[in-house]
Amino acid sequence: MHDASGSAGFEIIRREDFSDVTYLLEIRHPLMARAAKPGQFVIVMSHAQGERIPLTIADFDRGRGSVTLVIQAVGKTTREMQQTCQVGTMLYALVGPMGVPSAIGQAKKVLCVGGGLGTAPIFPQARGFSENGAYVIGVLGFRSKDLIFWEDKFRGCCDELILCTDDGSAGVKGTIADGMKLAIERHRDIEEAVIIGPPVMMKAGAQVTRTAGIKTVVSLNPIMVDGTGMCGGCRVKIGDQVKFACVDGPDFDGHKVDFDDLTMRLKRYAEEEKTALARWSESCRLAQARGSG
């Protein structure tokens, strides 16, 4: 027992590094593995002084009793976790699955689109649709060939997979929007699209499907604190309504989301984030200097 939480933490049982910024953590949590459904997320605190950050569940394995998170090291917390989270270490807090699970309906042909942060989280959706018998077209965006991961996993549940790279080093040269256009040209009967990624990317993707008249679901990732509907920090504008992404979402109608508002709100703590990162980098540098000196 460590403190008032009474919890000894949540064990990391596997780690994989996809690139120098993207890493995977598999965490033991049998109850959560049993409960998790596509589209849900968790909130993680890596240590007792840490912040609570939401991460979409990228995979869950009931047999192994584990959930998998794929994390991009972008800010202080995720970079620090990249250093400290090793197999056998514990996460201080892990709560979930949170959010309303995605409605994986009976659509016969679907587009599952993931890019950036959203590449891994689109996997459970693609698998879910595939299990429901849909024809699944995956569209994944990466900066370049060497950043591609989980290609096999996606091929396993997608009937077609379109890879897009910014530099053209693999698949289509261009963004996921280009990949989506390609898919839509080939298939006139796509009933639904699911897009997960950074707001700009979801916005671009939703624009493509709006033109094509395809129903579109996006998964939003605003800044969160509790994840239980108690603080309103995660509020998003959907049409003329304000919703709390953590309990009303995270999935929303991609054609109604105000992405500019989301982008703006994500920058709320940009200054502080910079301070924290700078301070942390400095402390790492000092530690390293001490270590080698």
Partner: protein
């Protein structure tokens, strides 16, 4: 007692309590009210008239035997005082600090008709603090009865229900979504009003009673209420998940950066310790001129936190007057002392952006009180042509909460029109074996009411499970009187009812 006390013979002045100087305290998070010393408590105890039919007991939502414990303080038997309180209230150190005494016990105190009422709250807190310091919490002998009870939410309602069920011999597990237990006591009410150590001590006492706390557990999503009964083997469940879900302002600009709910501000500051950023990772940048909308306890807490985090000016914007402000009198008083600027009879109309998506100013309108509305309170109506701008760069809203939707989304429990869980007087919900109480049933209320509901639910749970409660179950409602929520020491003697 030698001579009978009368209103003329008792000390005429309320014993003052030492408080941190306002100029000093706005720069720290240490407690404002420093509490009575033994001597001060004994002096204040001399002001109680020991009315034969004490109004204060009836005015207390859990009917603490107030003259009874004050008598013990007078006799300097503080431990006995603690035991008297403990029969009705588990958390005296908490309630003495946060109850709205002026509208409960102290509001009906007979001394108050002529002089200032007896400082019941301060006395209660004194006893509670001393008990924590001296480690008095009595751990009774408990005979396990094999029943398994699940409690959802670790706020005052959940805690109260958990304690009673544990004392009755049940194996109790409390599930909490946050990483720390305590509910609003932990994440909402700031340290300068209720230090974390007090909550820790109370939680520790529960642990000693055998209550297990499972934090990081979002019930409804990790497992449902139905699964708790059907699969996890709980014989009964209590839901005390609180209100949550802050109401939005619904005016243009309410999603701007630099507009946040008091709940978010307080959670970041209290639970996540943003006040210690960057030693703690959670940030909470605030403007220099902050407008807080609302005048309840939450609003007062938010304003005073802003001051302590360095705001230069903090404005309270409330559409009614000070007389209607729902906050505890002491909090408004402290806020005034600390320099909060009150704009009564003022409502926000629009929040204007600055060039970076933050707040540039807030447009407000003057109000006047009109005819009473459905709630019986005078309805504020806008004064035409009174719109004006308030120069602020941060807006915090604390205008109430709606029902938290998670349990409703994930169970078949019947909800009321507004989405709160439906429960009858015995706190039973529409599902057999499932009870609910606190803010998730009533909407935002008070700590003591939530605790009262938790205890009422515990009593019903025991009845439902057939746990005999010798002290109370056989007595009529009237005879129970002040013991309504009291735990009788004989309780431990019930027979083992079910083989585990």
């Amino acid at each position: 007692m030698a001579k009978k006390r009368t209103i003329r013979t008792i000390p005429q002045q309320r014993t003052p309590v030492r408080e941190q100087d306002p100029r000093e305290r706005v720069r720290n998070f240490a407690e404002v009210n420093c509490g009575y010393t033994r001597q001060e408590a004994a002096t204040e105890a001399e002001r109680c008239l020991f009315c034969p039919d004490p109004a204060c007991v009836a005015g207390c939502p859990v009917n603490i035997d107030i003259p009874g414990f004050i008598r013990e303080i007078g006799a300097q038997d503080f431990r006995a005082a603690y035991e008297v309180i403990g029969r009705a209230n588990l958390l005296p150190a908490v309630c003495g600090r946060v109850c709205p005494q002026e509208s409960q016990c102290e509001g009906v105190c007979v001394v108050g008709d002529t002089l200032e009422p007896v400082a019941i709250g301060r006395l209660e807190r004194f006893v509670g603090d001393l008990a924590i310091k001296e480690g008095w919490a009595s751990i009774p002998y408990i005979e396990p009865n094999g029943f398994k009870i699940g409690i959802v939410g670790s706020g005052p309602a959940g805690i109260a229900c958990a304690a009673d069920m544990a004392k009755a011999g049940c194996a109790v597990t409390v599930y909490e979504a946050f990483h720390q237990p305590g509910g609003v006591l932990r994440y909402g009410i700031p340290d300068f009003r209720l230090p974390n150590e007090v909550i820790d001590a109370e939680i520790e006492n529960l642990r000693k009673l055998g209550v297990r706390f499972e934090c990081n557990t979002l019930v409804g999503r990790l497992f449902t209420i139905e699964q708790m009964i059907d699969e996890l083997g709980f014989d009964a469940v209590f839901i005390g998940t609180g209100a949550g879900y802050p109401s939005m302002l619904g005016i243009p600009g309410d999603c701007l950066n630099r507009v946040l709910s008091a709940n978010e501000l307080l959670t970041r500051c209290n639970l996540m310790r943003a006040k210690d950023f960057p030693d703690y990772d959670t940030p909470l940048p605030l403007g220099r001129r902050v407008a807080v909308i609302g005048a309840g306890n939450t609003a007062m807490d938010a304003m005073r936190v802003c001051l302590r985090l360095g705001a230069e000016r903090v404005f309270c914007v409330y559409r009614r007057t000070k007389a209607e402000a729902p906050a505890r009198a002491e909090e408004i008083h402290h806020a005034e002392e600390e320099g909060i600027e009150f704009h009564w009879l003022t409502a926000p109309v629009e929040i204007l952006p600055d060039e970076k998506g933050g707040v540039g100013a807030m447009r407000c309108i003057r109000m006047e009180l009109g005819a009473p509305d459905a709630s019986g309170r005078a309805r504020p109506v806008p004064v035409p042509g009174s719109e004006h701008e308030l120069a602020v760069d941060q807006v915090v809203f604390a205008i109430g909460t709606n029902a938290n939707p998670i349990i409703g989304q994930t169970s078949k429990l019947r909800l009321d029109r507004r989405g709160y869980i439906e429960a009858d007087e015995s706190m039973a919900t529409s599902m057999a074996g499932v009870f609910a109480g606190g803010d998730i049933v009533t909407g935002a209320a008070t700590v003591i009411e939530a605790m009262g509901a938790g205890r009422r639910a515990a009593r019903s749970m025991k009845e439902y499970l057939g746990i005999r409660d010798d002290g109370t179950a056989s007595l009529g409602e009237a005879e129970r009187g002040g013991m309504l929520f009291g735990i009788d020491h004989r309780e431990r003697n019930f027979a083992r009812i079910r083989l585990a």
